[in-house]
Symmetry: C2
Subunit: 281 residues, 2 copies
């Protein structure tokens, strides 16, 4: 479905769409035959409003159950899309997909190829709450945040993430330049934000899952560093997938294009009640 640069037609206007979605009900962003996906829903709603050929492509895939605060897609359509279009489009979309903005873009704008960085936020909850299972990973064991921070710092720079992704053998390269790795606390939440030019398959979830094992003491900070240095997930046990954090806590926060400003302070993407209401007074 990704449209190559070669297909652009200067007579067809290009738009940039900014979309938020609760990924819980979807098999991810990317359109698939016989599967319910976010881009599939979006295309269906757009085609009902803007007849004719529609080119639609996102900045990248998000997996089943993963959310987005601001996924970006480009849309090329013969139709001129004015302000009323976004209202009609949202009225047609399911409640868990919401188009935030539709802006005219340069004819060569490509949501994936033009992006220079992506940021993801992962939300861990240290308390069980009736309201937020779909937006957090509930971790019940005590976590040593300072150990997790000290490990996370080592992710920054050009690193080999072979030990922190699914099917590394299918990647042309497992080297990724990580711009920043932050951990913040907000009430009973722990937030992890990673910013990089690109991400490997399940990389954020594997990094977070492994950082949590550092936090619980299941693996040492030294073992974490060895994983980065040796690029072999089997060093910490026979089942590396066990170190993959669930999709529920993961949010694509931001896709950055050239000339755009930096990120806001790290805050809960979908705030969750972190205090017990009964205990407030």
């Amino acid at each position: 479905m990704i449209v190559s640069r070669a297909t652009y037609d200067p007579d067809v206007p290009t738009y940039r769409l900014t979309i938020e979605y609760d990924g819980s009900r979807y098999r991810g962003w990317q359109e698939q035959k016989n599967a319910h996906t976010v881009a599939g829903e979006l295309r269906q709603a757009i085609e009902a409003l803007a007849p004719g050929r529609v080119e639609l492509a996102g900045s990248g895939r998000t997996d089943a159950g993963v959310h987005a605060l601001a996924q970006v897609a480009h849309l090329r359509s013969q139709q001129t899309l004015d302000r009323s279009f976004i209202i009609e489009l949202n009225a047609r979309l399911p409640a868990d997909i919401h188009v935030l903005q539709v802006d005219p873009a340069g004819e060569r704008f490509h949501a994936r190829h033009s992006a220079v960085a992506r940021s993801y936020v992962y939300q861990i909850s240290r308390r069980r709450t009736a309201f937020a299972k779909r937006f957090v990973w509930w971790v019940n064991q005590p976590l040593d945040i300072s150990e997790m921070r000290a490990a996370a710092v080592r992710l920054v720079g050009k690193r080999d993430f072979a030990a922190f992704c699914e099917r590394p053998e299918e990647q042309s390269s497992t080297l990724v330049v990580v711009e920043s790795a932050e951990i913040a606390e907000a009430g009973s939440l722990i937030l992890v934000r990673l910013v990089a030019s690109h991400f490997l398959w399940k990389m954020v979830r594997r990094v977070v899952g492994t950082l949590v094992r550092v936090g619980t003491g299941e693996i040492t900070r030294g073992q974490f560093e060895l994983l980065l240095a040796a690029g072999d997930a089997s060093l910490v046990g026979p089942d590396p997938a066990r170190f993959t954090a669930p999709p529920s806590g993961l949010f694509l926060e931001r896709v950055v294009y050239p000339g755009e400003l930096g990120l806001a302070a790290l805050a809960p993407p979908v705030p969750v009640p972190t205090e017990v209401a009964a205990a407030v007074d």
Copy 2:
């Protein structure tokens, strides 16, 4: 299911349970035959852990789709319920029901009869968001908050709520003493909190629905006051049910017992992302 005062047995310990729930999937709090209810789920989990006769009763009903931050129930069981009980209980409960606390209570403690006040918070969102349909009422029209506040002030005191409840003819009395009626703004949210000793059926939802019509200008503040004075919902149109706000925005916030302190400042019960992430920088 409500246990009368007469049934207590001084040899059976009494506990006070504090429970939060996302009511979206349930036919309300109250146990019913052949319906999925919060108290039904709770009883099933308790009975699996504490064999023998269990008396369980909540502070009051909540309707289908209505949530609770701190519903209170009393539980009488032959079992001694220690700290590990709450952990095992939560492990058995569905993810959208969470027992916050289990405290020993006096033998005459009755969740409904002992309560002296209840507070409800209603959450209105002025923006569509992919993440919170189940926790808000999305109101798209502009609202005049100061008109809504001026109308809400008139609710305080001993008033006849015949025009603000379902089936007033079935009530022994439609007089209710409202202690406070607050309206606060938090980002794109509007919060309405009502505190009273008791509430009539759908009273909060009818009050909020009518206040919103005042906010949109559909009815005047004078008409609102007439509804209170005359106690006849048909004064503002042939279909009073149209003025009932949906259950999704409603939270039972707090049940107050004698000697307990006041409420915390009004804040979003389940915070919702109110700002557009893409527009933060």
